[in-house]
Every structure is written in C-alpha cells, then in structure tokens.
Assembly symmetry: C4
Homo-oligomer: 199 residues x 4
C-alpha cells in the first residue's frame, strides 16, 4: 500500500483528536454565590493542560509527517504500529481531562498524572518503535538514501525524546505538578527555532 | 463519479468515527469514599471496548481502502451501500459505549452485547455485499484485471470475515463476555503479520 | 480561488457533521425497574431520525460534489452561500436531536418537527440558490459546456427537490410524524437506482 | 517542509472546530410548566453566537487559505505560529458557549464576553503576525512575486482586521451585547461582495 492514504488518514485522525481537546473545557454553570472569574480561575489546570496537549499533538503531527514522508511503501508492521500510535494520540483528550480534573484533588492526583504521563510515554515509545523499524530494520522501505550515521542520529534523537515522558510518569507519585511542568517544558522547548530541525 | 472523492469522504467519516470513540471514556467524578484507582478499575470494560473498536475500525479502514483502490468508477449501488456501510461504522461509538456500560450490569447485558455484535455484523455484511457487487456482478467497474480464481478467493475471504461477528452476536445471550472476547480476538488476529496480506 | 480547496473543506465539514449525528444516540442510564429493551425501544425516534439524517446528509454530499465538480472557479457569492449551506448542514445534529427528543412529547412536538423540517428546507433552498447562481446567472464559472435545455432541467430538478421539505415543515403542526415520514421518504427515494442519475 | 500538508492539516482542524460549534446548541429538557418555544427563545444567544462564530471561522479559513497559497516553503516560525493560530481557533466552541451562556446573566457577563472577544483578538493577532513574518521579514518564502506596495497593502489590511476585535474586547465591560454586535457586524461585513477581494 502506498503511503499517501496512510498519511492522510493519520492526519485526519490527529486533526480530530487535537480539536476534541476543546471539549475538556467546560462552561461553568451559573450558580448563586459563585463568580465566573473564580470558577474559571479554579479551572486553570484545564486551560494549561489544553495548551500543553495541543502543542504536544502538534509536534507529534509534524514529526509523524517527517517520518512518513521518508517512507516509500508501508509494510504490515508500519500499518499496525501506526494504528496503535493513533490510538494513543486519540486517548489524549481523555487523559488530559483526567489529569486536569484531579490535579488539585486530595486523592487520585498521582494516579491521574501518571496516566497522563503514561499516555505520552506510550505515544513516544510507539513513535520510536516505528522509527527503529524503518531506519534500522527495514531501510529498503525508505524513499531517501541515508548514511548509517544519519540514521543513527535520528534514532538516538527519537529514543531520547521518550526520556522526559518517562520522567514525567515516574515523578507523578512525587507531585502531579511535576508531571505537568515536565510535559509543559517539552512543549515549550519545541517552540525554540532550532528544536525541530532535522528531527 | 470518480472514486477519488468517494474514498476521501469515506476516509474523513471513518477518521472522525474512530476518534469519537474516546468520548466513551469518562473522567470519574470526584466523590467522597471513592478512589480513582477503584473508579478507573471499575471502568475497565470501557477501556477494553475502546481498544477493540479502535483496532476494528482501523482494520475496516485498511480493507475499505484496498477495495476502493480496485475500483475505476462507482455506480449508484456502490455509492448507496457505501453510505450505509459508513452509517454502520459511525454507530460504533454508541454501540461500543452501550456494551461497555452494561457489561457488568445485572440486566440488559445480553441485549447490549448483542447490539454491539450486531453492529459489527451489519458492517461486515455491508462490506461483503459491496465486495460481491464489485467482484461478482460488475467486474467492469474495476481498474485491475483479475482471474475468476482470484476474485473467488477474495469473496470467500470477505464472506468468512463475517462469521466471527455472527458468532459474537449469537452468543451474546450466553454471555456478553463471549461477545467481547470474540470481537477482541478478531482485532488481535489482524495484528499478526500474515493476516492482511491480499485481503 | 480554485475549487479544489473549497470542495475539500466542504467535504471535511460534511464528514464531521454526518459523524456527530451519533452523539444524538444516548446510552440509557442503569435504572432500577427499567429494562434496557424498554429504554432503547422508547428511544426509537432517535434511531429513525439518525438514519434519515445520515442518508440525507449523504445525498447532499453527493449532490454537492456533482455541483462543485462542474465549477471552474468560485466567485464571492459561491463562497459565501456555500458557507451558509455548510452552516445549515452542521445544524442537523442539533435539529435531529430536537425532533427525536420531542416527537413523543405532549407539548413542543410540532415546533421541534417544524425546526427539523425548516433546517432541511433551509439547506435545500441554499443548495438551489447556488445551483441557480452557477447555471442561470454565471455559466462562465463552469468547466463544462451545457445547453440551455440541460441547465433548465437541472434547475427544475434542484428547485423541485425543495418541495418535500416545504411540505414536511408546513405539515409539522398537523403531526410531527408526518414530518418524519416525508423526510424519511425522500431519503428512501434516493436509494432507488435511477434517483441520482444526472442530478 | 512543503506547504501542502501544512494546509491540509490546518483545513482538517478548522473543519472539525467549525463543526463542533453545533455542540453548543442544547436540546431543552422536557420540563413541566415550560414551553419549547419559550426555552428555545431563551437560548437565542446560543443561536446568534453560533452564526457569528461559524461565519467568522469560515472567513478565517478563506484568508488562511489565501495566505498559505502564497507560501512556497514554511519555516519553523510559520509552523509554530500556525499551530498557535489553530489552538486559538479550536478554542472558539468553548469561548462561544461561554459568552452565549452568560450573556443574559446578572454576573460574569462582561468577563465571558471579554474572553470571547479576546479569543478572536488572539486569533487575529496571530494571523497578522504570520502575515508580517511572511510578507515583511521572509519574502523569500513566497511562491509569488509582489511589489513592496502590494505587500504593504496586505499588511495594513491584515493589521486593521484586528481593530474590531480589539474594540469588541475592550467594550465588553460596558456591555456584552456590544461585543456580540461588533463581532456580528464583522461577520456580516464579509458577506458583502467586495469585502474579501484580494484579502
């Protein structure tokens, strides 16, 4: 199967998933004795988590696009792992809402942050696995020629991109704010001009 | 009408439907005397059903793509049955949630599982009907030449793909867990390398 | 502006709108003294309305595709009226749910059915208006040559397609079931082989 | 990275966001002592806000399309600011519902309208920033030749498009109806034939 439709289907799924994040933002109900400013202020984790997840999915999309554009044909492994990767991306509106809703709670906050970090870790791992399959195991699937040094550099970069999500998940029991801070820092890092060059 | 837009419209609908599955996953409300771990654990049918339906729709998409790519032009029958097929796929976020929500209930669990199995059966039947129309009744619609033996092989394969969904629906009154197990096994089967070759 | 992106944007919006119809189907809550069969049976207007609206949007998509494929370039009027047409299509998940939810109610049922019929009437009218603009007022926008007789035939057909929706809206005060029956009959009519030829 | 996928991903996100606006329209629950006409009448801000936001997003889409079609290649800045622009567009189903729900409330109405105006202001500012980057700072990214006078004219137009949203936000504390009126006037203005020429 050619990679054109694989890419456009993946793009479609990612575009819907990134947009469904807005459903996590809830209009506060009109209640006596509450101010809208107070209610929206109380929802700040939802807004921050929306921003972090939105930028994160945007980065995944860009990297996914670069990865697929190097492919000439896709084998069964690429199709299946790509489907699992999409499944992990589509989970984000749920895991984002879970972390945001429990961030300030007195119980469950570590688990919620761990699930959020874990879903990003799963996504990064599946992405890295795809990269490894294409670059290290089946380079004949590629449409471009690459030296072993170039491929190694991409693989190291891809694998090291998983590290912050491993940290964000592992540190969730210490504090869910750490999880949010680390994943937010990764998103902010990609705003820097040099960050995505050649990724 | 050329098949390009038929395919891109179908791809769009399937991409949205597969992503809406995440709306079945609900963030447990903060409640006194409940733990998040307990609440998420209690929701396990939702997570399993999400995975099964996600992979199933992914497989349908791949097979749909292969089927349409063999078409040169689409007649009225193809358009209409394809629309019904999309309608059955779009039902899945509802039937998936229905089965998951009632799986552990003391009543309605057989009906809910039967509706889920039935929606997959409907999808498989419409898919098979399209295959039959194109390969057996109107081969002149195709863009590729096929021997009668090749066509027969695809038709048998396509028709036999309906069998597990027939079983999953028929066995729902025995136990809804059987329905979930059979549909899950079909999804897992397609993860095997040889499973989609030439389907 | 070329018509390629106009069409792909319209396709995207229509694909999302047709899929959001599934959100009108609600999993009945687990309640003591209720059976799932009874609850789903009580929801039958939702299922019927889902089917009618799904097929109706599918027909609109096909006709929209045929209309745009005849265009070489789009002027400002085409862009703006097409945007209003999309707005009327995107309303359908709301108006469909409104009619279905009030169909069996003792009050508001006529208004709800009138709103549903009215939204389809609006859609048909905007579609007809676009057709009239392209075929009668600005034939130089077209990519194909047509005789006046051909254009007249398409215009008459397009305008007459509005009639059943006018009836469905006008008869809503008599009975909302009439609205559902007429709109359902239009959808069923398009299932006939000869119905969409040359529309 | 070529601009084709950037545009199709942006189109996908905008198509989903514009369609999710319909989720702001809620079917009134069946309640004793309430009429559907009264309940829907009470919801008029939701319908007006739906129309204003729908047309506004439609205009953004058209302008976005014109902007991207002038690009030959996209640099890191274009990718990142485009992602933030999409994030502001995807916020609209939330900020639209917020303004509509609080328009007739006795408290919070100014803040809600300010947030709505502010989200449109953010969108306009990011759009203007992208225009400035492409036309003034990196004209070598463009696929078309433009005289300095042409570029200046587009920049002035793009920057002045932000002014009404600045007003709509600044006047929210005076009255939320002013915010709605100004943003509605902008949408209505673009319905005029001459409005989008060469934008």
């Amino acid at each position: 199967m050619s990679t054109g439709r694989l890419e456009s289907f993946s793009d479609g799924v990612i575009a819907v998933a990134i947009t469904l994040l807005v459903l996590d933002l809830v209009v506060p109900p009109l209640r006596h004795g509450h101010t809208l400013a107070g209610d929206l202020g109380h929802e700040w984790p939802d807004f921050v988590a929306y921003g972090v997840s939105f930028v994160t999915v945007g980065i995944i999309w860009m990297n996914h696009h670069v990865m697929i554009s190097r492919l000439r044909v896709a084998d069964h492994f690429v199709h299946f792992v790509n489907l699992l990767l999409l499944m992990s991306i589509v989970l984000l509106p749920f895991t984002t809402a879970l972390m945001a809703r429990y961030l300030q709670a007195r119980h469950g906050e570590s688990l919620a942050a761990g699930v959020y970090g874990g879903s990003l870790l799963l996504m990064g791992t599946l992405f890295s696995l795809l990269h490894h399959h294409i670059l290290a195991r089946r380079p004949e699937l590629m449409s471009v020629e690459m030296t072993p040094a170039q491929r190694r550099r991409i693989l190291v970069r891809s694998a090291s991109g998983v590290t912050p999500y491993l940290l964000a998940t592992a540190l969730a029991p210490v504090s869910p704010y750490l999880t949010l801070a680390i994943t937010g820092a990764v998103a902010a890092f990609y705003a820097l001009p040099a960050a995505t060059a050649g990724s």
